[in-house]
Amino acid sequence: MAEFLLAAALFVLAMVALGFVRILRGPGDADRMMAAQLIGTGGIGALLLIGAAMGVGPVVDVALTLALLAAFASVAFFKAVTDGQPDDTGAAERE
């Protein structure tokens, strides 16, 4: 069972790694951030699978923390790009 869970974690990680291409190439900031969020979601999934495979219960707490802070990071990103930079045209040009 542990082997299967680890294989599943590896599969999830490999799929999520495809999102890496979006972080590398962009082109927009939003594309990059969404890819990072995808890696976040997939990473939490892989984390839970690894935790179950190794029988380490507290991994669930790590996953909870990551999930909450990933939502926070995406809001911080949205605010950083849209707010407080009225004279910044960089974000508009990149879209």
Partner: protein, 312 residues
């Protein structure tokens, strides 16, 4: 299968790290850093360091990521000018030499480490009973190495003073960051209403289990700080003016309790930060309870940033 997973993770982390170093766009590099923090969390779990994984996820990936995203957005205006400049080859060669030298020195230092590594783990494990704490990390941080933790909490406070010191004179004592406004029917306002209650429970839980399982005040405080900032960013709440007396008191309250309990140790147990027999767990919990609100507030205010508006 574990080996394949480790190899995949290592490859992924190294590729992302290398790309972050060479990326010219600051914002892209910062987004890469957020993903990198998450992958490091996975690596720490694979290394059986769940405590480190939790800290990395909460502080390394979460709060630092949000702070760097805001910094990158602010730097964007000046970035085009910086990119237009191309340093001459002597500068580049010197930079390459310096960076290569540092890397080589680090590699030599890591390779020169004694094997097996000197460890105090057996002594720590043998004496853990004296602290009454179930999680050895918490025991080490608040009993055997309490001075380090005291300095650590003071450093966070000093960082906040550093952030505040960047405020222009006319808004000194004012409110940090812009006043955020959002449509109350927007997704953001909805998220900021739904998530913080859940986040607060999780934050306090992570803090609470720290006595016996991975967790603790820093991780719990960073979640609580993030939840409060979420409400601020959605315009549901506003950051308090930094001149408020209760705010200053709350910031120094935790470290003061820590120092007071430490000083009491001189009289009751014969050394600074020593705990009298039988009272260790109680005092450790008292310090943690006092530090949690101070740390949450300090971390939140560091992220909220420099005062930008007068207090009125």
């Amino acid at each position: 299968m574990s080996e394949a997973l480790n190899a995949g993770l290592a490859l992924f982390v190294l590729a992302l790290a290398a790309w972050m170093v060479v990326a010219r766009d600051t914002f892209a590099a910062v987004v890469g850093f957020v993903a990198y923090g998450l992958l490091l969390t996975l690596v720490w779990v694979q290394l059986h360091g769940v405590d480190v994984a939790l800290t990395e996820g909460a502080i390394g990936g979460g709060l630092t990521g949000a702070m760097l995203v805001a910094a990158a957005a602010r730097l964007r205006r000046t970035e085009a000018a910086a990119r237009a400049e191309r340093p001459g080859w002597p500068t580049r060669a010197a930079a390459a030499l310096l960076a290569g030298g540092v890397t080589a020195a680090l590699a030599v230092a890591v390779l020169a480490l004694p094997v097996p590594a000197p460890s105090l783990a057996p002594e720590t494990a043998a004496n853990m009973g004296a602290t009454g704490v179930g999680n050895p990390i918490t025991g080490v941080l608040l009993a055997f190495r309490a001075v380090d933790t005291l300095l650590e909490t003071t450093v966070v406070l000093l960082a906040l003073i550093g952030v505040w010191s960047l405020a222009p004179d006319r808004v000194w004592g004012g409110r940090p960051g812009p006043r955020h406004r959002a449509d109350p029917n927007e997704t953001l306002a909805y998220l900021a209403r739904v998530l913080p209650p859940i986040g607060l429970v999780v934050g306090v839980y992570i803090f609470w289990v720290g006595a016996d399982l991975p967790g603790g005040k820093f991780q719990g405080a960073s979640i609580i700080a993030a939840m409060w900032l979420l409400a601020v960013m959605a315009g549901l709440s506003d950051a308090p003016p930094i001149s408020r007396g209760w705010l200053r008191l709350a910031l120094v309250g935790g470290p003061l309790v820590f120092i007071a309990i430490g000083a009491a140790g001189v009289a009751t147990a014969g050394a600074f930060l020593a705990y009298p027999d039988g009272l260790a767990k109680l005092l450790i919990k008292a310090i943690e309870w006092a530090l949690l609100p101070s740390l949450a507030l300090t971390l939140a205010l560091i992220l909220a940033g420099v005062p930008e508006r007068p207090a009125r």
